[in-house]
Symmetry: C2
Subunit: 331 residues, 2 copies
């Protein structure tokens, strides 16, 4: 549920003009879907509005951005709105300078660093898309088929198609409402989740075959080198499916995916699942030790070192946190 402050902050935003919406770097289904829904709503109100993003929209997400690949500044903004951006670091190189002058941040990450003048933050919401839906419902904006589809995409993407623990009764209520505008949600979910080239599927197979396990197979580590990506001909923009690949290995409580990028940077994603009645393993606390961030059950970080060094550092950090939380009570 939104607070009155949040509703009035959003209403203040709708009173502005010449608005620039900023998406996070390495844009995903949530930031793109939510931003395009907002852009369309603002334009329909007669506002001058634009979206920018430091990175290009990957091929497989261009169905969300209406085919657009590059989103650059068209006009000098009066008002800057960030969507789904937890911290300044996520603005990316090109639009980093905008991070110092954000008027409104619309976000759902509890790790949000409150860099904006006004932050509309809803931590218990699956996605920026779900928060945007709530804001639209409490405002003068009427949802139509275009908006419904964009918001549905954002929500489905960030909730893993309603399967992650961030999915609440309200998430389904929003989806039920949005699906009344008859668009092909199944085709969307195929594009978001079920559509890998054979090359990608082969890379995933190799990744799963590389798994190393610790703490009684409760910690699973998967490593993908750039040489594999290159050999199989997988587009580096289409590696999103790898980040949660450890979820597929039964019994994994903490999953670590280490991926070497073409420029040598190491991208690490962390996932956790609760084994009740034991306490949660908060992966964002590990990520933040390395300058990364995220949620309790999904976080990410980057390192600039060799794959071996990155592997050692992250495994050590996860095991240290594991021992701290579970106090050697479960081995």
């Amino acid at each position: 549920m939104l607070t009155e402050n949040q509703i009035s902050d959003f209403s203040e935003l709708l009173g502005k003009d010449n608005i620039c919406i900023v998406m996070h770097k390495s844009p995903d289904g949530d930031t793109i879907g939510s931003s395009f829904a907002l852009l369309y709503a603002l334009k329909r109100m007669g506002k001058n509005a634009e979206i920018v993003c430091s990175d290009e929209i990957p091929d497989h997400f261009r169905f969300i951005s209406d085919g657009i690949q590059y989103l650059d500044l068209i006009f000098e903004p009066e008002t800057v709105v960030s969507v789904d951006l937890a911290s300044e670091a996520l603005f990316g190189e090109k639009y980093d300078y905008l991070s110092h002058r954000v008027d409104f941040a619309i976000d759902h990450h509890f790790s949000n660093t409150l860099y904006a003048k006004k932050t509309i933050l809803s931590e218990n919401t699956s996605s920026a898309g779900e928060l945007m839906y709530e804001l639209f419902k409490c405002s003068e904006i009427e949802i139509d088929k275009y908006i419904a589809e964009k918001l549905y995409i954002a929500i489905s993407f960030d909730s893993g198609c309603f399967r992650y623990s961030n999915t609440s009764s309200f998430t389904h209520k929003a989806a039920a409402d949005l699906l009344q505008f008859s668009f092909d949600a199944s085709a969307i979910n195929v594009k978001l989740f079920d559509s890998s080239s054979l090359a990608q599927l082969k890379l995933e197979s190799e990744a799963l075959n590389s798994v190393k396990q610790y703490k009684n197979n409760k910690i699973s580590v998967v490593t993908v080198r750039y040489s594999q990506i290159k050999r199989l001909g997988v587009n580096e923009n289409e590696l999103g499916g790898l980040t949660a690949i450890t979820r597929r290995i039964a019994g994994t409580v903490v999953g670590i995916t280490i991926r070497e990028k073409s420029d040598g940077e190491i991208k690490i994603s962390l996932r956790s699942q609760q084994e009740s009645p034991l306490p949660e393993f908060d992966v964002s606390s590990v990520a933040s030790k390395f300058g990364g961030g995220g949620h309790v059950r999904a976080a990410g970080l980057s390192m600039n070192c060799s794959v071996e060094e990155a592997e050692k550092k992250i495994i050590d950090a996860v095991i240290e946190e594991w021992n701290r939380i579970y106090d050697n009570s479960r081995q």
Copy 2:
């Protein structure tokens, strides 16, 4: 929406006693979840009720059956109710004789052969679970946490966690309502969808590597031999994930999975996806040519022949239907 007839048929069922609920052979999340919800509701009303199933409950579905592995007749029933059973053939060997005396069938398959005295059929419903939810809501049965969890499992299972085209606005509305009883839906979805042993994941890798494609890669065929299953040590009961594996290959319109069982029987599952604006490829029509059945986008059948022969027969039949529908307009 239920018809008045359906509501009154279900009310008639609730007036009976000594009720035997029959699940389909090779029980899945939908038939088990829906049947256990109904069993519990009937027992809470003070009825004598039982569930039977010709096959044992596989390991990975026993969290739905409250740990129960075998479901056999406890008492001689006065009333027989089938749940999620499209045809007599699905009763299985052991309880085949009950197929001739079914009083009420509660089902959502449009291919239902109307073998029961009264059939409560809702073709546009994602799952028997969603239909059961509707029936409960229109009856004296009050949903509690136990029922909510079982029905959620049934709905989530059959809708592929809300990603398949059978998911409607109402499916999400039901989920929103059920999730108000705070159970761990995320943990359920991990058990239903994200929990494969490394051996299973390796088998899936091999299966994907075996893919053969036809008609400009729009038809994908995956074959799994029993020798592979045995070598990797995968339990034959835990091969459900293979049936929709072709969905994962981008561009596949019709997916065929051929699996050899330990007794030599060949199980074939067919999946289709619509490429709008082209017409649907109805896989159930191909399945029915071989005595199988199912839905437009998901169907199954069995053959008793060699793997090679089965492959040839099913590929020929699919290509014949392909040519008929698309009239060589898309190659």
